[in-house]
């Protein structure tokens, strides 16, 4: 009997950035299981200081190519909170639309390019058997619609342009928005055609309850705005993240881990799905039903399922936002408002595709950043991923090393870790 096992995956593939997976089993018992970030800290929080707020929001999107709009919006919201800028409804709607574009694009990339190869047992999406070429085409069309949303609202997806503190430096025409509507309608159909792939998929059976943390808003399924909400701790203003979330360093890893009340918690698609299920569109709830996902769901392997439901929601919501933006009353509003920097601190929180993201800046009276603190979704999820591994491995401990390793890869990938983000930001206490 092989009672000793060692699983080591260096530079896990099909995730953002470099991370290593390790699990050690001795005498049939789990000794250690971890996912370590293997990238040098980028110290963004240090060098953002000394730059003015316009440069800060420009640089902030470069923290991560895949959630560039989220970082940009979090930085903008933090600056606007500091300077007391109140934006128009048009600005709010445009930002929310840009956000939905990013969430769709990120989820589609993860679902079809990073996760789907596992479901079909191939090394990459380019290796899918010929009968799935159409799947790839549809997924690409879906992604293109998401990019069109971003192009219309932010010039491009990576990296947004013209999305500024105080609003937008351009103003999309009603005609452009109407064209965009057509593209999004097409994407709704493409998504419908892709859902059955996931219906046939059997998700590994594993449950572990934890605290689910996300933004929550009375207005909508929260991405761009809302209060901080934890399924265990209730609602609180976003500024309270400072005393609620504690971060600590872990030997051997350059990313910090985060806990609330000393316990790990989950952020991201599944946390949002659990916390805000009631606000999902009807179509999104139907997709969830179809693929066997119901709230609350405590199976982390089903994070991609929640991403699929959210994709359906974001498409519906985008159509709704476009219709609002075309209304004459909203069309008439200015796409930007004046900004007057003051010496102050501000916090901006948004739901990035991978979870709650906080930007926290202090500016001097000229609007130059003097202090920055960023809390990133993946860093918050690392403790949860570790707790899942601890709970999951004993269930499959008899499996051969290869199978066990593959299962752990799938679990880690399900979290959609974004290492680029997590190492860009390290708080200096």
């Amino acid at each position: 009997m092989h009672k000793n096992k060692r699983i080591e995956v260096k530079h896990l593939t099909r995730v953002e950035g470099h991370g290593n997976l390790t699990a050690i089993i001795r005498d049939g018992r789990l000794k250690e299981a971890r996912f370590d970030i293997d990238e040098a800290p980028r110290l963004f929080e240090v060098f953002l200081c000394g730059h003015d707020y316009n440069q800060v929001v420009h640089m902030a999107s470069r923290i991560c190519g895949i959630c560039a709009v989220s970082h940009r919006c979090a930085a903008i919201k933090a600056s606007e909170a500091a300077f007391g800028v109140l934006v128009s409804e048009r600005i709010r709607l445009l930002r929310r639309l840009a956000f939905h574009g990013e969430v769709i694009s990120s989820h589609v990339l993860h679902l079809f390019f990073l996760v789907a190869p596992d479901m079909f047992g191939v090394p990459s999406v380019f290796h899918l058997p010929p009968e799935h070429k159409d799947t790839v085409r549809k997924a690409m069309r879906l992604k293109r619609a998401a990019l069109e949303i971003c192009r219309t609202t932010a010039g491009r997806h990576i990296h947004p342009v013209g999305m500024e503190v105080g609003g937008f430096s351009f103003n999309p025409l009603p005609r452009t928005l109407a064209e965009l509507r057509g593209a999004v309608e097409g994407a709704v159909e493409d998504l419908q055609a892709l859902v059955p792939i996931f219906r046939r998929h059997s998700w590994p059976d594993f449950q572990r309850k934890t605290a689910y943390v996300s933004l929550k808003s009375p207005k909508s399924y929260a991405f761009y705005e809302g209060e901080l909400y934890s399924s265990r701790h209730g609602s609180m203003p976003v500024e309270d993240y400072r005393r609620t979330i504690s971060e600590y360093t872990v030997p051997g890893s350059t990313a910090k881990h985060a806990v609330i009340d000393g316990a790990s918690y989950m952020v991201g698609a599944l946390a949002r799905f659990n916390n805000n299920y009631e606000q999902l569109s009807n179509a999104a709830r139907r997709v969830a039903d179809e693929i066997g996902l119901s709230a609350p769901c405590t199976n982390p392997f089903m994070i991609p399922a929640a991403q699929l439901a959210e994709t359906a929601h974001c498409l519906d919501e985008s159509l709704h936002l476009i219709d609002r933006l075309i209304e004459p009353e909203i069309s008439r509003q200015d796409p930007s408002v004046p900004v007057h920097p003051v010496k102050a601190n501000g916090v901006g929180a948004v739901e990035a595709p991978r979870g709650t993201l906080f930007h926290d800046y202090t500016f001097d009276e000229r609007g130059t950043c003097t202090e920055a603190n960023l809390v990133i979704p993946t860093a918050q999820n690392l403790a949860s991923l570790h707790a899942d591994m601890q709970a999951f491995i004993p269930q499959v401990i008899e499996e051969p090393e290869e199978v066990l390793g593959h299962r752990l890869e799938i679990l880690t990938r399900a979290y959609d870790p974004c290492i680029s983000c997590s190492t860009h930001v390290i708080r200096l206490d």
């Binding site: 980028r42 420009h58 895949i66 090394p123 990459s124 990296h159 000229r366 200096l428």
Partner: protein, 268 residues
Amino acid sequence: MRRSEKKRIAFFDFACCEGCQLAVLELEETLLDLLSHTDIAAWREVMTGDEPPYDVAFCEGSICTRADEERLLRVRRDAKILVALGTCAAIGCHNNLRNRIDTREALEKVYGKAARGMDVTEARPVSAVVDTDYRILGCPVSLPEFIAVFKAILTDQPYRLPNEPVCVECKLTDTLCVYEKGRVCLGPLTRCGCGAICTRFGDVCHGCRGLVDEANLAAMPRVFSREHLHAIMGAVASGQPLDEERIRQMIALYNNYPELKIEDRGDA
């Protein structure tokens, strides 16, 4: 082309936002077309597996650790052609700004004693560590330039970077100059090739494609001074005063790796 003649290509990412790779994926069908003329030997972001040697290695990001450096040197040995993909790799992007602070000291503040063993070096563009055969600029890479370079490589041709400022593309696209709105733009110093994407949306150019060859940095503070702008544009640049230090700070968002001479920033 017979299968055996296909070029073996690989993508590698070092410290960065991975936006350049993601931008390349946005090429969708065009990318599938380009890839159909090649075999993919390694692409960690989207594929499991790595089979050197490579005919072409696209490298994205900056080199921030000894491990990065070793990996890059290994890729260089295994690749006939090495392409710096994007500004991080070709010129240097925000990552390098950390070279101005004492990184060790900063890390010790965060990690305490554990920082001592940490593998952290100066942050450098790929092009400062190994010879590059082609460079594709932009943060993220300009996709038309990516396609042009890809085709040049497939047909064994050289590629020359354009050497006009972004202003030229503003004129070609009928874009209102942002100086008219009293904003300060680095377009006059910056190498075009992005189609003036930022200024077309009313934003300013932050200089992500690097400086044109022989950019006259010394003349910048005078040309961009409040008085001069006022005289030529009739608009007053808002924000902070445009002294030399401020202009250098603006340029340094992207053009910040000192060991690269300005004339090195351009052609492959």
